[in-house]
């Protein structure tokens, strides 16, 4: 980028600085501030003055320091080499920042004003050309592919607003800066750029109708999220937001995971970095890290870059979506992002709205969540891809009435309500079974793919959990003895569903991932037992004896079934239930 214009600083207040003399600067242009050339972005223009948010610590700047306008908005570099990498909020590669020129680790701290290309410029990629010379191409057409990782083929596409005839093909292998092909004599580089605040164009948006399978029983069975949909997980501290996000990142069946650690703990990212390279993707057998891109802006990194990190993450997600992949973007946590907005807004002396957040919080949140979607890509042979957004929310004091939670609820299609009460009782995942919801109609898919009574079973379970909730109130007041025998059994089944079905250990090797077939058969066993018990009831039945049957021990062990033998095990258990009940 060439320098367009230079101005001077007139005011410095934390991450917000004001410059004058930047004539011609446009809103959201990237500027370089001070002699250290810190990265900043123009966020307001007032007559001769431009208000700039600085993505790095602004101490040491003084009135009169130079400010350069780069003439363009904040962009990300898109090309092979993104997968498995870790970037900060403005896409600086963190491992490369830590390593010295000879590749040895020299500097563990993040210094200011360091500039490095996001993608390793020296790495060579073997290209397989998909188009031939003389072929007419339009935006979105794949020009060439390269095997980015074991499982993911990277497809280099014709950038938006470029069409014409391929006049020449590039060489192979090629580096990030080399052209892939020439269209009408103009080179198309392997690495393209895209402004982060603008969504990438698509041919059309489709209605999400396929679930994102996560292997988590409470999610897949009760509150599934669609591919191309969005979900929000609010929860106070210690309720397991991060464990849940990381579990989804590990097990969900998306092709690519973009994990945005936004204003959270550095040690959590360290955990991901130590764990993911050692885990294998259950579907492809490749290393989990090879399908993951981390955007890390820990809570002590500059606040304005935290604001940008979410857009950086979703833009990278959209890029892979356009290649025809299913992408899941995990944002942990959107509250920290909202707080970054608030912090910058208060430095701008804007009129605060609810709880000090700026009045544009809901529209900014909408801009983020609405970039999720199942799409048909541009190009002559459209590809289907999706971006699913999962946003964690950290409400202050665990109070869901605060603005970020409320606006997220308005936008997200699935709501997983994490309750500190459940977490305290060691019920994990602490997703509440009656307060959570999903708005995606995915029953048809499950009925067609897993079992034709999936939806029926799912509705039975949620109805029963609702009933149990009401019985719970009576039991708390009057004790369990006042319940009618049938209610006693319902109450007991509710407990079985909670403890033996909804609870799932993220750290148990077998239980961490539960296949859809296993989920179906587990619930089927519970329902069968419930209905058989109800069928056994007659006037002189001793309910205590029924709900104390040893068969419950076998039911409690369903979690340890391996995915492949779940159906056989379940059928055997159904027979055992029959045998035990006829004996009783």
């Amino acid at each position: 980028m060439t320098t367009v214009n230079t101005g001077k600083l007139v005011r410095i207040a934390g991450p917000v600085v004001v410059a004058e003399g930047l004539t011609g600067a446009r809103l959201y242009n990237v500027v370089r501030v001070g002699t250290n050339r810190l990265i900043g972005e123009v966020i307001r223009l007032e007559g001769p003055e431009a208000v700039i948010q600085v993505y790095e610590d602004s101490s040491g700047l003084q009135v009169g320091s130079p400010v350069e306008d780069t003439g363009g908005p904040l962009t990300v570099d898109l090309g092979p080499g993104l997968l498995g990498n870790i970037f900060d909020g403005v896409q600086r590669p963190l491992p490369a920042l830590a390593a010295g020129p000879d590749g040895r680790e020299v500097d563990p701290f993040l210094r200011r004003g360091v500039e490095l290309p996001p993608l390793n410029p020296g790495r060579e990629w073997d290209l397989t050309f998909v188009v031939g010379v003389g072929e007419l191409v339009e935006p979105g057409d794949v020009l060439a592919t390269t095997q980015e990782t074991e499982a993911i083929e990277h497809r280099m596409m014709v950038p938006a607003e470029r069409n014409g005839t391929v006049t020449r093909l590039g060489a192979s292998p090629a580096t990030a800066a080399d052209p892939v092909a020439w269209i009408d004599g103009q080179p198309v580089p392997m690495t393209t750029t895209w402004p982060v605040r603008t969504g990438r164009p698509v041919a059309r948006l489709l209605d999400p109708d396929v679930p994102l399978i996560t292997g988590q029983r409470v999610v897949d069975t009760l509150f599934p999220v669609a591919r191309g949909g969005s979900a929000t997980i609010p929860g106070g501290f210690g309720t397991g937001k991060t464990v849940h996000e990381q579990t989804l990142a590990k097990w969900c069946d998306a092709d690519i995971i973009v994990y945005v650690g936004c204003g959270e703990r550095g040690n959590e990212l360290a955990e991901v970095l130590e764990e993911f390279p050692n885990l294998t993707d259950p579907r492809t057998g490749a290393r989990l890290m090879e399908r993951t891109i981390l955007i890390a802006n820990t809570s002590n990194m500059p606040v304005a870059a935290r604001e940008a990190s979410i857009y950086t993450g979703i833009t990278i997600g959209e890029y892979y979506r356009d290649q025809g992949y299913d992408v899941a973007v995990m944002a942990d946590s959107t509250s920290r992002w909202g707080e970054a907005l608030r912090e910058v807004s208060s430095r701008l002396e804007e009129m605060p709205s609810e709880e000090g957040y700026p009045a544009y919080l809901p529209s900014r949140l909408a801009e983020f969540y609405e970039r999720a979607g199942l799409v048909e890509s541009l190009g002559r042979t459209p590809r289907r891809g999706s971006v699913t957004v999962v946003g964690a929310v950290s409400p202050p004091g665990g109070d869901f009435s605060e603005p970020v939670t409320q606006y997220s609820l308005r936008l997200a299609g699935t709501f997983w309500s994490l309750e500190s009460d459940l977490a305290r009782r060691r019920h994990f995942p602490a997703i509440h079974w009656t307060r959570s919801y999903t708005l995606y109609q995915l029953d048809d898919w499950f009925d067609g793919r897993v079992a034709d009574d999936w939806a029926d079973q799912r509705h039975w379970a949620s109805r029963l959990l609702g009933e149990v909730e009401q019985l719970q109130q009576i039991v708390q007041l009057l004790g369990v003895d006042v319940l009618a025998p049938a209610e006693r059994i319902t109450f007991q089944t509710g407990r079985i569903i909670r403890e033996d079905f909804l609870q799932q250990s993220a750290f148990d090797q077998v239980d961490a991932f539960c296949s859809l077939t296993k989920q179906y058969w587990m619930l089927r066993v519970i329902r069968y037992l419930h209905e058989q018990l109800l069928g056994c009831l007659h006037e002189d039945t001793d309910v205590d004896e029924l709900i104390g049957l040893p068969i419950y021990d076998l039911v409690a062990r369903m979690k340890s079934w391996s995915g492949t033998e779940a159906e056989d095990q379940a059928k055997a258990l159904l027979e055992a239930i029959d045998a035990e009940l006829s004996a009783a």
Partner: protein
């Protein structure tokens, strides 16, 4: 704390406003944002301050030791040209310093080995090492239920009148890493707004245990200037970073009491007439606390570590109060101390969370994953804790 001496110094005599901890200095064109200044009061006393904001007309400066006695006509402001730096060195071990970093034990001045920026730099997340080495504190409620590991930051949520400081003192003297007794283990203690009684308790406790020579104490007492408290934890952590990442020590940093720190933060924010957030605390308090708490950790290829033990008094025992709430979101794990029916103390495990590092910490090397039994980060693996 002595700022750099340079061959020429710029002195301004253009103070235009004095209120609370804040002064305005007019026509301060050469002043840097975040710069440390010395303010010479009419009676020639020298105080230190830091530039919060600069613009064409003036600079906003917070004075750490208060503004009492300053005037507009004759107060002079001396620029240092640098952000706050602290002279660190192994000579600090065994010393007692005040909240400003000046010796408070009648000892000689400390020989600096380096001058480090008190605000530190963020650790690159890509080179962090995940905390996994168990620290035995000798307090069963922590060891068994809320295990402390090297590189962790563990908050203790306390109530007024509860002996959180006694707990902190005990951990200071008893903590050890099982199997690594010979390793260099030191304690940096930062007290913010504690009373003389508490301070002398800590001093006596350390002297009696013979640990004083492996400890650095920063004491900002309740009657010391409030704004100084904003500096104290940063000085302590800068010292800790030097000892850990330059000298290879395992450093346990004890911060008590962060509630007083946050109140000082609020005082400055109010004096600057900022838009208040929850309960009057500034909207950036999360970020500010994070710049303190996130300085805990371990780094690949570096032998040392920084572990934090943070004491937070919950006003009215309310864990949803902004200070414990935000602290809880940044720190890892929680230990609660509660008032209950006249009993003076309960270290109650119920509302405390075990973050997952426990798993890694208690797992014998090479034994593979631990079967937690229950769901999630439960109490399953507690029994694997190696005994004394």
């Amino acid at each position: 704390m002595k700022p750099h001496t340079s061959l020429h110094t710029v002195e301004l005599q253009t103070v235009s406003y004095v209120s609370g901890p804040i002064i305005f200095v007019d026509q301060a064109l050469g002043i840097h944002s975040g710069e440390v200044v010395e303010v010479v009061s009419p009676d020639e006393g020298v105080r230190r301050g830091q530039v919060l904001e600069v613009n064409r007309e003036r600079a906003v400066v917070e004075i750490y030791s208060g503004t009492r006695g300053l005037d507009i006509a004759s107060t002079r402001v001396r620029l240092s040209g640098d952000t706050a730096r602290f002279p660190v060195g192994t000579g600090l071990l065994g010393r007692i310093l005040d909240g400003n970093g000046d010796p408070a034990d009648q000892g000689p001045p400390v020989m600096p080995e380096a001058f480090w920026d008190v605000n530190g730099l963020a650790i690159n997340p890509a080179v962090r090492r995940y905390p996994s080495e168990y620290i035995e504190t000798g307090v069963s409620a922590i060891d068994a239920l809320n295990t402390l590991v090297r590189g962790q930051k563990l908050p203790i949520f306390s109530g007024f009148g509860l002996p959180a400081n006694e707990l902190a003192a005990r951990i200071t003297t008893d903590a050890r890493v099982v199997g690594h007794e010979e390793e260099a283990f030191v304690v940096v203690f930062a007290a913010m707004g504690i009373t003389h009684r508490e301070a002398s308790f800590f001093r006596r406790h350390l002297e009696e245990s013979g640990r004083l020579n492996r400890t650095v104490l920063f004491l900002n007492l309740a009657d010391d200037p409030t704004i100084e408290r904003l500096l104290t934890p940063r000085l302590a952590l800068t010292t800790a970073e030097y000892l850990a990442f330059e000298r290879g020590y395992h450093v346990l940093v004890i911060l008590t009491d962060m509630t007083h720190y946050c109140e000082a933060l609020r005082e400055v924010a109010t004096a600057r007439e900022e838009v208040p957030g929850r309960r009057g605390y500034p909207g950036y308090m999360y970020t500010d606390l994070a710049t303190i708490y996130e300085r805990a950790g371990r780094i690949h290829d570096h032998p040392g570590s920084i572990t934090q033990l943070i004491i937070v008094s919950m006003p009215d025992d309310d864990i949803t109060h902004p200070i414990p709430d935000l602290s809880g979101y940044i720190t890892e794990g929680a230990s609660g101390r509660h008032h209950r029916r006249g009993q003076s103390l309960r270290n109650r495990p119920a509302p405390s969370g075990v973050r997952r590092r426990v798993r890694a910490a208690v797992r014998p090397p090479g034994s593979g994953p631990v079967d937690c039994g229950g769901s999630g980060p439960g109490l399953g693996p507690v029994w694997h804790v190696p005994g004394r």
